[in-house]
Symmetry: C2
DNA sequence: TTGTATGCGTTATCAC
DNA sequence: GTGATAACGCATACAA
C-alpha cells in the first residue's frame, strides 16, 4: 500500500504538503499540487480511510437504517441513495431493524461507532417517538429521516405527499360511483398512516360522503390482515376500500374473489404501493406509486446538500382496473 | 467518548492490560479481566472501530457486491447475510454494480480500501471471468461468491443446485404431457445459466425428448425479452418453456395471453424465481424457489466459519397452475 | 500477569 | 507555501 509518506519521499517534500495537496488546500503552490496529484496517480495511491477517519473523526460512510431490506420499497430507496452517495465518494452501511426498537438502537450505535457522516433512517414500527434516535446518535451525526418520520426530531425529512395521495385515490373511488368507502390503515404512531387517513377523510367530505370511524380498519397493512379487514369491510357494507398498504390490498382482493365478489363491479380497491406486483394482478390494482428510488435520491441529496428542511416526493396515482366500476 | 485509557485510569492499570482484557486474551488475570469488563460496561465504553481497524489492518465490515439491490433475489440474500453478520458483530457495506464491470471494479476497490473483513459477491453480467476480482481484491481479503460464481476463483462459493432444479422443472413439464419444450436462458458466461441449460438438456434426454438448439432462447431473462422469446417459441412450435428467469416467464405469459394461447392448456410454463409475484399471477406460475434468504445466510456462514468449499442451497419446485396441462 | 514503547496513516497545529 | 511535530485510539512485540 502506497502512503502519503511514499509520495512525499518520491517528490522530496513532506507528508504534510502531500496531505494538503490531496485535500485541495489553498495553502499549497499550484505546481506542487499538480506534481503531487500526478505522482499519487502514478503510484496508485488511495487514501487510507481508517487513518483518515480516525484522525478527522468522520468517515466517508453513510449509514442507512430500514425495517426490512427486502421490501421492494426500502430496497429501492437504498438503491436510489446508493447511486448518488457513491458518486459523491461515500460508502453505504446498511442496517435492518425488523421493526424492532431494540435492533434500531443497536444499529444506530453501531453506526455512530463507525463515525458515519450521516444516517438515513426510516424508523421501526415499534418506535413511537424519536427520543431513542436522538440519544443513540449523540447529536453529532446529521440525520435524514425518510418515509416514516418523527416531526419531533430535527433535521432533514423526505416524505411522500401522503395526504394528497390518499385524497386523490379516495376521490377517484368516489367519482367512480362507490359510496361506502372504507380505509385500511396501520399504526397511528406512524406518520404515513396518520396522513393517509387524514387525506382519505378529507376526500370523503369533499365528495359528499360521510366519514365513519367504523369503516377505518387499523392494523391492516399485511396480506393476511388485509383478508380479515376485507371480511369486516364487507360486513359493514363497504363497496370499496382505499388501503394504505399494498399487501393488504392484495389480501383483500384474494378474499373478495374467493367470496365471489366482483372487482371492480361490486367492490372497488385502491392501494398504496411500490410493489410492482400490483400491475399484474387480475384485475390489476389501482395504486399510489411512491417513487421510492426518487425518495432514496432525495434523502441522499438532503445529506449531500446539507438540507434540514422537508422534501416532498409526490405520489403518482396509477389508475388500473380494480377501481373502475364504470368500465364494467 | 470513553477510551481504554479512561478505563485504565479508573482501574489503576495500563491501557495495554485493558486492551488485552477486552480482546479476551488469556494473558490477563481473570480478576483483572472481570474488573475491566465491569468498568467498561459501567462507563459505557465502545471500541473505536477506526483506531482498531487502523492498527490491526482489518475492519469489522463485510462488503457485499450485487448487480441490483432492489431485485427481490438480491435484497433477500443481503437481508439473510445481514442478520447473521450483525449477530457476529460485523457491519455490512453495500455496493451495486448495475451489471457493469467498471462499477464492480470500483466497488471492490472501495471495499479493499475500507479493509473489509470479507467480500460477498455476485458478479455483474458484463464480467466474463474473475481476473478483475482477484486483482482488485489484492489477494488479502476473503472472497465468498454466491449465485453467479467464477470457478476459476479460489475461495468459498454458495450456489443453487441449478442443474438439479432445471432438471426437475423440465421433467415436470415433460411428465405433464408437453412434448416440445423450449428454454429461456441468459448469458452463457454466467454459471447459473450454463447449469440450468445443462439440467434442461439432461431432462429432455431422460424424458425421451430430443434436444434442439433452436429451442434454446438466449438473452431471455427480462420481461420484454421474454415476450420476444415467447413469440419465437410459438413460431418454433413449442408447447412449453422452462425459463431460467422469472420476469421473462412473466413476459411470456403476458404475450401468450394476448395471443389467446391457453396456459397451461395449450402451453406450459415453468420459471426460476425468487420473485413473490409468481404466486399471484393468473394463472399462477410454477417456479423453482431459490431460497435466497438461506443463500445469504450460507454466504455469511462461509465467511464466519472460514469455509472455502462450495455450499449448495437446494431449490424448491413450487408446482402451481402454469405447468399443469392435466388439470385443464 | 502486567507494563513500556512503538507505530498504523493521516490530519491539524504550530512555527518558519 | 512548506516543514516539523503531535495526536487520533488501539494493538502488539518486547521487557520485566
Amino acid at each position: 500500500m502506497v502512503t502519503i509518506t511514499d509520495i512525499a519521499a518520491a517528490l522530496g517534500v513532506t507528508p504534510s504538503t502531500v496531505s494538503r495537496a490531496l485535500a485541495g488546500s489553498p495553502r499549497v503552490k499550484p505546481q506542487t499540487r499538480e506534481a503531487v496529484l500526478k505522482t499519487a496517480a502514478e503510484m496508485g495511491y488511495e487514501r487510507n480511510v481508517m487513518a483518515s477517519s480516525l484522525r478527522s473523526g468522520r468517515s466517508q460512510i453513510v449509514g442507512i437504517v430500514v425495517p426490512r431490506i427486502y421490501h421492494e420499497f426500502f430496497s429501492k430507496v437504498i438503491a436510489g441513495a446508493e447511486s448518488l452517495l457513491r458518486e459523491a465518494g461515500y460508502n453505504l452501511m446498511i442496517c435492518q431493524t425488523h421493526e424492532s426498537l431494540d435492533a434500531e438502537v443497536k444499529a444506530l450505535k453501531a453506526l455512530r461507532n463507525n463515525h458515519v457522516a450521516a444516517v438515513l433512517l426510516s424508523h421501526s414500527l415499534e418506535a413511537t417517538d424519536g427520543s431513542h434516535i436522538a440519544e443513540a446518535l449523540g447529536g453529532e451525526i446529521p440525520l435524514v429521516q425518510f418515509d416514516r418520520v418523527f416531526d419531533s426530531l430535527p433535521g432533514a425529512k423526505v416524505v411522500n405527499d401522503n395526504f394528497e395521495g390518499a385524497y386523490c385515490a379516495t376521490r377517484l373511488l368516489a367519482s367512480n360511483g362507490y359510496t361506502r368507502i372504507g380505509h385500511f390503515s396501520g399504526l397511528q404512531s406512524c406518520s404515513v398512516f396518520r396522513e393517509r387517513l387524514a387525506g382519505y377523510r378529507k376526500a370523503l367530505e369533499d365528495s359528499g360522503l360521510s366519514y365513519d370511524e367504523g369503516l377505518v380498519f387499523h392494523d391492516a397493512i399485511m396480506r393476511e390482515s388485509g383478508r380479515e379487514a376485507a371480511k369486516k369491510a364487507l360486513e359493514c357494507g363497504c363497496d370499496a376500500i382505499y388501503s394504505a398498504g399494498a399487501f393488504s390490498a392484495l389480501g383483500a382482493m384474494e378474499y373478495l374473489r374467493e367470496r365471489g365478489v366482483q372487482i371492480p363491479g361490486e367492490f372497488g380497491i385502491a392501494g398504496t404501493a411500490n410493489e410492482s406486483f400490483t400491475a399484474i394482478t387480475v384485475p390489476s390494482l389501482t395504486t399510489l406509486d411512491q417513487h421510492s428510488i426518487e425518495m432514496g435520491r432525495e434523502a441522499a441529496k438532503a445529506f449531500l446538500y446539507g438540507l434540514s428542511s422537508i422534501s416532498v416526493v409526490s405520489m403518482e396515482l396509477k389508475i388500473r382496473e380494480s377501481s373502475n366500476r364504470k368500465t364494467i
